[in-house]
Point group: C2
């Protein structure tokens, strides 16, 4: 039951999970790119994870996580996001500084630790980037969120998450006075450069670039 996984194996499992969530199917090359390694190394690991029944894999035929694999991946995601929440809410880290540290903390193996941390944090539902945190059973809040570029004009919505976690994005968001939870409407869409005119209650309307809009996800309210 209790399989022991190396940090490397866990990183592969999580990367495959995220890629197949986004894409449906995953390729050797994509995994290599995501983990900054070589396709040959990925193939080696695919064989190993198949061996451990974490992956359904037939060579040249593609691969997907097994049920066990998905369960393991959700456990790692849970740890990653709970630690990020802890770092921001309790240790006063910035939003943009937590990912790398969480990348290490997610591999601490104690189940008891993570469940006690969850309780200490009072069972948060979303991490600081707006991504849902799986609970102890791997269930997480559905996120009926859409990209800001797809929000209909004059539809009030709240910023729910960001697609990128860079310091540069955070800097821009601070300057524009946008944070997770900020309520806004799109007033106009400009076809020339796909920029958007945005209105936040009590402020003057202003324009944001296509790049920025694509990095923001919102929930309609």
């Amino acid at each position: 039951m209790e399989i022991n996984l190396s940090v490397t194996e866990e990183n592969y499992i999580k990367a495959i999970y995220h890629l197949q969530q986004a894409d449906g199917n995953v390729s050797t090359n994509e995994v290599a790119k995501e983990l900054a390694t070589k396709p040959a190394s990925v193939t080696d690991m695919l064989k190993k994870l198949k061996q451990k029944k974490i992956l359904n894999y037939e060579k040249y035929q593609g691969f997907r996580l097994s049920n066990d694999g998905r369960r393991i991946a959700l456990g790692i995601v849970r740890k990653h996001r709970l630690w990020e929440y802890f770092l921001v809410e309790k240790l006063q880290f910035g939003w943009d500084e937590v990912h790398e540290v969480a990348e290490e903390l997610e591999h601490i193996s104690s189940k008891k630790l993570i469940d006690k941390l969850d309780a200490f944090l009072e069972y948060p539902k979303f991490d600081p980037h707006g991504d849902p945190i799986p609970d102890v059973n791997g269930k997480m809040a559905a996120q009926p969120q859409i990209n800001l570029t797809d929000l209909p004009v004059n539809q009030l919505a709240a910023v729910s998450s960001v697609g990128i976690q860079s310091t540069e994005l955070l800097e821009l968001l601070k300057h524009k006075n946008i944070a997770i939870g900020t309520k806004l409407e799109v007033k106009k869409k400009f076809a020339f450069d796909n920029s958007l005119e945005i209105k936040i209650k009590g402020q003057n309307a202003f324009t944001i670039s296509q790049q920025l809009a694509q990095a923001l996800f919102v929930k309609m309210v």
Copy 2:
């Protein structure tokens, strides 16, 4: 400046630090025993740490940590003990459950993380076992503590730390109503079995075994 150390290297450095603190000098065999590995593996690592200037080592002539080595060791001890404090004080772990988890957490590399954790915990001076926590500069509170077996009769003292961190010891201490901070006196020493008669204020005197007394350290008050 920023040397990258593997978890394995860090565990060796910390083990050597503790052994040379206790003993003055350390042997290959002792390190092997401490880390549950073989002397041949230790020799391999000694060469590697000498290479990295963490260790002063000449074959067959023994070894000691260099200044750099001691600085690194203190950093690891700092992380270990701060995490133990966090686990007990914030996450409600028991005293006897934290060591293994801290053994993993001590290898999380972020300096910022540990300094922010220190601040969050309000700069604790001692870990849950009574061991001093090095500050950001590696300085820690002196511990003028002695073993309970060496405490003079009728000398009031406070329990300051334990030499062993087992669940079994904790169970016995709970039953005897002794915790870190408990004030007590030795009333009698029995030569036959080296048991001690102990008095805690407001309680009847009782006897503790040599084994228990050896596991307890006290500060005179």
